[in-house]
Assembly symmetry: C2
């Protein structure tokens, strides 16, 4: 990293190109998804077992992790990890409970009572990828809100590891969150199982969770088939804004922790002077050598953007155009800039707030909009597991009084039956003399 | 309508097929959408004018409705309609203001402060279809919440009518909602203009509003390109549950007001005895003859489903499986069933609450999930114009105390740099003795 390209005060015309993300195109996987979904919808578990053998080279006797196996696996968790997960569970629960919305009740007009209530989405599917390490933290982020709102059915899909098992920490987290239905499935077939149902689980209404390009393509396909999904996909990203008050050691570690997610991770650093950047680079080199995932990290860093702007306000403006998944503000008086943050997934304020705190244990959710989607999407929060339904009840007086308004508007839109449905009730009330 | 098919106590096995909606497939319009979007992204207004001439046979000199023309058109609204729209505006505003969420602030762990705040989506596009009548009510439903939350840019697209103008009521409603940017565009090119921007308007982040199959296909295409949309599409629908306390005249008018939306409108009536159904049918025949749109109505009714169940609980169960856009409860003690409603867009409670009240003036939003999407989606409400962002700030004590948890979890997931970012801060605080 001794050489890096510094972008010096780019003009606004260049911002759009500096904010570009890698193009994602999963259209080529669509035929595969269609085949797997159709096969799973007809042959259910037989198809799921066959695809798992074909794609994952794993021969399962059953796709279901039974209660005994769950308990046995969960029991094997290390004690310090168990204690850590318990505390994270506690913090995440608290912050998500605090987000539960209030019902809205209002008499909008004399005799017209409108309410908005929420209901849990009854059936949700959670996908947790396999790979080198079990992402039990992501399971906590998705299963805790589902548990809080009381989704009736929560189906977890995760592939078995190299020893043919589901990891202890994952099982422990699942147990903690009250998950009863666990399918040993990964990839396209896992998303097909969630969408189409299996012999023991019903199709879910919404699918949550990250995954590789196959999972992303399958979630997209599921969405086209009418199943809701949590968020559109994109590689993880961080934008760090640092001024003279920043600690270069901390910044370097923050950049590395983003970069270690994968070679396509997006790392952007904005600074208000070049000195801090040079110090960060020195620290990067130092820290990098100790990391087991340094090859991935180097690839991601080679794509990173280092930009210097004259002032903090311009940094914030640029960040709002970039709309980062994670925004770290290592700047003096960071609090005074928060109201200017328009587009971001989650914001880490000040020198003692690393992204990893939010990734694991502070209480905020780490499933966040990437790829600029923070301009229009929220990260996963309690709302993602709810639907809001409106109700209205009109009294005799209410319909008599509001009906002329409804009739006038309906007729002006040429919808005579709409006017009629209101008028008949008004006349009924008037005739009854209520 | 003298003949109708009554479905008598269908077994649960048949419910899924009774809840089927028409299949929507807009894949065949995808190439058209791609062509229009690409052309608009390059040639902007020149392309928009050309497509409007080609698809709509309308030759415009400019796609923009200027302030003067807006005022002039709006001024021509009928006085009674103006008064009605003013009252609807008032009621809808009140109910949506009441939905504005509270910020969440919490110390989840000693020294760990998490907050969730909301921000308006900065740029939104509203589409209002043309056709036989101007849907000013839909404009109110979309523009009022945008105005309340303070979206910075609101771009309205609507095609001109046969006289080459934008209707007075639509202009009046736009003015009332503070809309400044109005494009005289319809169809695929309108959605392309919103997504790609024009010479005077920037690309929007989210598109709202109904439309024909071209608009639906274009919104789907925009979504694939990264623009958020309000809701997946489907024809409008109502499910009415009626018992002996229902008024057949009211029910008939409610069914007709759904049916008049279009030949693909979905009408479902559940009753607890056959007598009420027969009375409704008589009233339907009576009312039908007076309707200007009776041909459309007859087509829709020919596809409708009339089902008798022995008890109200089963009616509610069926409704939850169907997940109707609109649910009308014309039943005794309707209030006592509300907590059992799991899946519905908007619910109309009791004999004096016609759907048309909610469609126009009571205050609830009429942009609602169709096609069974009420199982996982909410109707448009204030949230649809907001994003929620989380923030966290840890004190020195906070990071020192939570860091061991973060480090343990990060290491167990194999993410060493994540652990490092936390550990460096913890050690710094410990060394400083803070």
């Amino acid at each position: 990293m001794k050489t890096y390209k510094l972008i010096d005060n780019p003009s606004r015309k260049l911002w759009d190109s500096l904010c570009m993300r890698p193009l994602l195109d999963h259209q080529n996987l669509k035929n595969l998804c269609r085949e797997v979904f159709e096969s799973v919808s007809i042959k259910k578990d037989v198809a799921l077992l066959a695809y798992t053998e074909k794609f994952d080279q794993v021969k399962l006797s059953s796709i279901y992790l039974d209660e005994k196996e769950l308990q046995k696996n969960a029991y094997q968790i290390d004690e310090p990890l168990k204690i850590a997960i318990n505390q994270a569970y506690e913090n995440i629960s608290q912050f998500h409970i605090a987000q539960i919305p209030q019902a809205v009740k209002l008499e909008t007009f004399p005799g017209v009572f409108c309410t908005q209530e929420f209901r849990a989405i009854e059936k949700v599917g959670l996908y947790i990828p396999g790979g080198s390490a079990p992402l039990f933290s992501t399971l906590l982020m998705l299963a805790i809100p589902a548990q809080i709102v009381g989704c009736k059915e929560v189906v977890l899909c995760t592939p078995v590891n190299r020893s043919g098992k589901i990891d202890a920490a994952l099982c422990y987290a699942a147990q903690l969150c009250g998950i009863k239905q666990i399918l040993k499935l990964g990839g396209v077939q896992a998303i097909a199982a969630l969408s189409q149902g299996t012999e023991r689980t019903s199709p879910v209404y919404k699918i949550f969770g990250p995954g590789n390009q196959y999972v992303v393509a399958a979630k997209q396909y599921a969405q086209e088939q009418g199943v809701a999904i949590d968020l559109p996909a994109g590689p993880s990203e961080v934008l760090v804004i640092a001024d003279d008050s920043a600690n270069p050691d901390f910044i370097a570690a923050d950049l590395l922790s983003q970069a270690e997610h994968g070679p396509d991770s997006q790392v952007v650093l904005l600074v208000t002077n070049v000195d801090i950047l040079e110090q960060v680079m020195l620290k990067l080199d130092e820290q990098l050598e100790s990391l087991p995932r340094r090859n991935i990290v180097k690839l991601a860093l080679s794509q990173s953007r280092f930009i210097v702007f004259d002032d903090l306000d311009t940094c914030i403006d640029f960040s709002n155009v970039y709309a980062p998944e994670h925004l770290i503000l290592s700047i003096d008086k960071a609090d005074s800039y928060l109201s200017s943050i328009q587009n971001a997934g989650s914001v880490f304020v000040g020198n003692y707030s690393p992204e990893s705190a939010g990734d694991y244990a502070s209480g905020t959710n780490h499933t966040l909009p990437t790829n600029g989607y923070a301009k229009s999407y929220s990260g996963v929060n309690i709302d993602a597991f709810l639907k809001k339904i409106t109700f209205q009840k009109l009294t005799a007086k209410g319909i008599a009084k509001i009906s002329p308004i409804v009739e006038t508007m309906a007729k002006a839109e040429g919808l005579e039956a709409h006017a009629l449905a209101s008028r008949l009730r008004r006349e009924f009330v008037e005739n009854k003399g209520e």
